[in-house]
């Protein structure tokens, strides 16, 4: 086996790749959060619950309606996004002018209600969801066995994140979004329907979480607490990347996955803490986050 300074390089490459896979999930989830925060200034604590909802929706689609994975990959994000639109219209709109704390508490409440509801109905043990047949099997790399589905996660996540980034930074629609962030009143004066943009953005951000949920269903157990486990880490990532920075969220998500992977190799017990340690350091040195603009 190849070693360097007493480190098993093959093992290390394996961990780096695995870190990248986890980072793909982090990137998808933190991207949704960053978009919602960027435009709506809402700290969406229900993002984890929406991720859980996405996984459960995929499971329900398969078991109740016979909708397979590939169709779920399109339909579920739309459905979860629609749930997001409803939440925005019915619950968040009335408190839009209030302090951020209100929307934070409201979304946190939504998350708890959803998690409780699913625990009540489906139990805490989780439901099985198989990997689609086309992605079963794997490739033997020199340093590890890479399951096809994991490779697919990286590809799909990079494509979705890339498209989102492109749409927001490079297109006219994206320009409206960014303008709405800067000065909603001015944009409204130009005849743009800002409330509609706000609603759609929230729906889109939440839909991304739903997409991540479908992606996660075959590899992680579809269980009610899958979202809350993920949420705090994802928040730390958004803070590290800089609240509201789209590109920052994507890059930090991938980067933190890799750092976590390395930690799992060298000192697994610290793997759940390392991201928060990075967060503390970043906040001390660069309070606006790695890619955030200083206020």
């Amino acid at each position: 086996m190849a070693t360097f300074l007493g480190i098993n390089l093959f093992g290390l490459f394996g961990q780096l790749l695995v870190g990248l896979i986890n980072g793909s999930f982090y990137a998808l989830l933190s991207l949704g959060l960053a978009i919602i925060f960027g435009l709506l200034k809402i700290i969406n604590f229900a993002q984890g619950a929406m991720y859980m909802l996405g996984a459960f929706a995929a499971w329900m689609a398969l078991n109740y309606f016979g909708i397979n994975y590939w169709a779920a990959l399109i339909l579920v994000p739309l459905a979860v996004g629609f749930a997001g639109v409803l939440i925005e219209r019915v619950l968040l709109r009335p408190i839009a002018g209030e302090d951020h704390l209100y929307s934070l508490l409201l979304t946190f409440g939504i998350a708890l209600v959803l998690q409780g509801l699913f625990t009540q109905i489906y139990g805490a043990s989780g439901q099985p969801y198989s990997i689609p047949d086309a992605l079963k099997g794997g490739t033997k790399l020199p340093f590890m066995y890479l399951p096809d589905y994991r490779a697919w996660i990286i590809v799909a996540s990079v494509v979705v994140c890339g498209l989102t980034w492109f749409m927001i930074e490079k297109t006219r629609l994206g320009a409206y979004l960014r303008a709405g962030t800067e000065n909603p009143a001015m944009l409204q004066a130009f005849g743009i329907n800002v409330p509609l943009i706000v609603t759609l953005t929230f729906g889109f951000g939440v839909g991304l979480a739903g997409f991540a949920g479908v992606m996660a269903a075959p590899v992680y157990s579809v269980s009610p607490d899958m979202g809350s486990n993920m949420l705090i880490v994802v928040f730390a990532i958004v803070v590290i990347g800089g609240m509201g920075s789209i590109g920052g969220a994507i890059l930090t998500g991938l980067g933190m996955g890799i750092i976590e992977g390395l930690t799992k190799y060298f000192y697994p017990e610290a793997s759940t803490t390392v991201i928060f340690a990075v967060m503390v350091i970043v906040l001390l040195l660069k309070p606006a986050g790695l890619f955030g603009k200083e206020a």
Binding site: Q15, V18, G123, A124, S125, G126, Y145, S223, M230, K264
Partner: protein
């Protein structure tokens, strides 16, 4: 003659009075109150939780709702898997709500804290679902009763036959807290004492979602057996990942603690064929099926072993209260140890002086998809392990007479 008659009469009356006095003092506060403490909404909700409450209710109803003419009451609470929450609930139960005994008891960390509170107040802990063997060994107490299984039985039941079959080299993926450490160390002893070797272990934090790093490390160890010293969703997630990364093809994966609900949550393609040890399986015979059917009608799912255990031990406790004629803990626990537990759950059973209920354990195999007649048809029983073999000997310092 008259005098003698009078004396006899007096003695008779006096004796009768003593008996009724004992009866009156027998049941404290005019009721027997059982507390059920469990994780109601977290990772362990399915293996005890509301199901344990249902099981205890069934036991009370089957017993007739009263003991020695006094009503039996049940209270329940959610310990959230937090020792401090659990012990403050139990303290309140004892101080303000006249609770006589506490059952349920899931996460070993919570049970450790709660058992101390109960022992201090001379109340009996009826431990249904906790895995650690500490409660009847290094933290033993005359008031602890542990019913369903423990880590020693799991290791003896699952690890020993595998080492015996020539699987020498082991690697552990362990849940990083008291229970996982206990399970790993007991299993390591069993591996070593049977001539095997432990190549390494990796400690994954409780509630880890992604096990791929740990699976890779296990894979590169070159072990014959990868043992999963974890439980609940940790177990399902780690096994799923092991299958995905092809680990199940190159090595045996042994689940050291698997509950029926966890086995149900897994794709039979992945879990099928795995061997494990359990204290109870619903579909064993007529008796277990009869009780489990009644349980499922009320609870909506087949019973996990700890839920069946909670019923069995509550029943035994109530029988002991009746036989002892009092709910005084010292008298009842003596009676519980005197009487042999015998019901659908407890087979060839005795409650030892250390509080360990020793009974038949079962080595089972998870059925493949084509063997399953319905979604509840999960295990095939392969072997019955006698209690003595499974639980090992009692420590001298825990021999509470």
């Amino acid at each position: 003659m008259k005098a003698i008659k009078k004396t006899l009469l007096c003695t008779g009356i006096a004796a009768a009075m003593t008996v009724s006095a004992a009866q009156a003092a027998g049941i404290s506060d005019d009721k027997v109150k059982i507390g059920v403490l469990a994780d109601m909404g977290g990772v362990y909700a399915d293996i005890c939780g509301e199901g344990c409450v249902t099981a205890v209710q069934m036991a009370v109803e089957d017993f007739g709702g009263t003991v020695l003419g006094k009503p039996i009451e049940i209270v329940s609470a959610d310990d959230q898997n937090k020792p401090d929450v659990g012990s403050s609930i139990v303290r309140k139960w004892i101080d303000n709500e006249q609770v006589d005994t506490v059952t349920g008891l899931v996460a070993s960390s919570v049970t450790g804290a709660v058992a101390k509170v109960l022992t201090d107040s001379k109340k009996i802990a009826l431990i249904s679902t906790s895995a650690s063997h500490a409660f009847t060994t290094k933290a033993c107490s005359p008031y602890n009763v542990q019913w369903t299984y423990n880590v020693v039985a799991l290791a003896n039941g699952t690890v020993k036959p595998m080492v015996g079959a020539g699987k020498w080299r082991w690697f552990f993926i362990t849940a990083d807290y008291a229970f996982g450490h206990a399970l790993e160390s007991v299993a390591t002893e069993v591996v070593n004492s049977n001539g095997g070797e432990v190549l390494g272990a990796v400690r994954a934090p409780l509630g880890t979602t992604d096990f791929s790093s740990y699976v890779l490390q296990a894979q590169s160890s070159g072990a014959d057996v990868i043992a999963l010293a974890n439980a609940g969703t940790d177990f399902t997630n780690s096994l799923k990942t092991a299958a995905e990364f092809g680990l199940t093809q190159t090595a045996d994966v042994a689940g050291l603690l698997v509950f029926t609900s966890n086995a149900q949550a897994l794709d039979p393609e992945i879990a099928g064929g795995m061997k494990l040890t359990t204290g109870f399986y619903w579909d064993m015979d007529e008796q277990t099926r009869e009780w489990s059917k009644r349980f499922k009608e009320r609870h909506g799912a087949i019973p996990a072993m700890g839920q069946a255990g909670a019923y069995s031990m509550t029943m035994h406790y109530l029988k002991a209260v009746e036989a002892a004629g009092t709910d005084d803990s010292d008298t009842v626990i003596r009676k519980m140890k005197e009487m042999k537990p015998d019901d659908f759950f407890a087979r060839n059973a005795t409650l030892r002086n250390d509080g360990r209920m020793v009974h038949d354990m079962y080595q089972v195999r998870i059925k493949r998809a084509d063997e399953r007649a319905n979604p509840d048809d999960i295990f095939a029983i392969e072997n019955v392990i006698s209690g003595e073999e499974a639980f090992g000997p009692m420590l001298a310092e825990c021999d509470f007479k």
